[in-house]
Symmetry: C2
Subunit: 227 residues, 2 copies
């Protein structure tokens, strides 16, 4: 049951052999223990680091806390989504959308080479991770992830816009943050933020204004500056 | 707009005076910018550390990633909640339930002294933090937090049970984790886990079994051991 039983002394001396093995075998049989196994496995998402910094600049953000932030944004900004959007589905999608990174790692949006095989790596990760769950939940969570990736529904378009808006806010309020340290240009960011403008003209205009402020402050460069 | 503009040189030399001040003043006027202000503020929850360790034992968990974990657990374990429970409300409650810790800090469950003024500290935090939002959302999020704290509805009882179950799993799979390093006893943990058994006999029995396994492995002590 408990991982890393390792070299510690055990009270009755039976931990590392019979008791533990029997328990793990039993876990394959009950629906509840499959759920627990998945819940414990996804703890690893807290160790997947994104390029984005916290706004105080002290460290990189991880994908679990990023997902929390997005889910709460989905609650607050729903008036910018299509009328009638299913908010519960959006939130669940955002809670699940980065889980594949446990195996596939976070791929920096502006890294062209790493993005070439991203889809294949993430599909393999989805196969392994979601299959820990009982079949009905395996299919439900995988469907949420695939809907997010396809970006064709009102729910996934809202979720995608939030997934672009949140790191923008982090970078802007960390004085350029990862954009600055990785030399990302104003124009690359504008392309990346297109889903925000596609969702809402107000959000889109706000985003362009922030990017221009960060550029005016000298934290990022424009391709015109480089020439 | 951008915090910590500090000593950096700015492109047009106007960042730290007129432009920035005007923008912050303008933010008090629009609903959208109130929402963004709150969204940026809650980034700080990622820096609030709990006593609980990640299951790999490498570091303490923060309250933002903990909230993500709980929200996804609420999706997966709903069959253990009361029939007809409003899952969206539970998820939103869990996304919000620890935000007051940005000002009030995380209070270790087994620290009696620190828990004496916890309620007062958290109320003051709620006053400040939720008031950043437009009035309707301020009231909605505060109501979720107060419902969680009161623990009287089917939704809040489910949320509370998850908030007890998740650190138990973290501690069990980190070989006793924070329980072990803080000398928490088997009996203290059993009392703390009562809301899990109140919610579901199956979950409650599972939790007792895990606690007994951790005790049998020698990672925690019983008051009977101490005597």
């Amino acid at each position: 049951m408990i991982r890393r039983a390792s070299a510690s002394a055990t009270r009755h001396g039976r931990w590392r052999n019979g008791n533990r093995t029997r328990h793990i075998a039993a876990m394959q049989d009950t629906r509840f223990e499959q759920q627990i196994r998945f819940i414990v496995e996804i703890d690893k998402l807290k160790n997947v680091l994104r390029r984005t910094l916290l706004t105080d600049g002290t460290r990189r953000e991880n994908s679990a806390e990023h997902s929390w932030h997005l889910a709460l944004m989905a609650v607050l900004l729903v008036e910018h989504a299509d009328p009638g959007v299913d908010v519960r589905r959006v939130i669940e999608m955002l809670l699940v959308h980065d889980i594949v990174e446990i195996d596939a790692g976070d791929t920096f949006a502006y890294d062209v080479a790493a993005n070439a095989d991203r889809a294949a790596r993430e599909r393999a990760a989805a196969d392994r991770l979601f299959s820990l769950l009982p079949p009905d939940q395996q299919h439900a969570l995988r469907a949420l992830w695939e809907e997010f990736e396809a970006g064709q529904t009102a729910e996934s378009r809202y979720a995608l816009a939030l997934d672009r808006l949140q790191p923008l806010l982090q970078n802007v309020f960390a004085q350029g943050g990862a954009w600055r340290s990785h030399g990302v240009t104003r124009e690359q960011i504008l392309v990346r933020m297109q889903p925000v403008g596609d969702l809402s003209a107000e959000l889109g205009a706000y985003v362009v204004r922030l990017i221009d402020e960060v550029w005016a402050a000298g934290y990022i460069r424009s391709i015109d500056d480089v020439r």
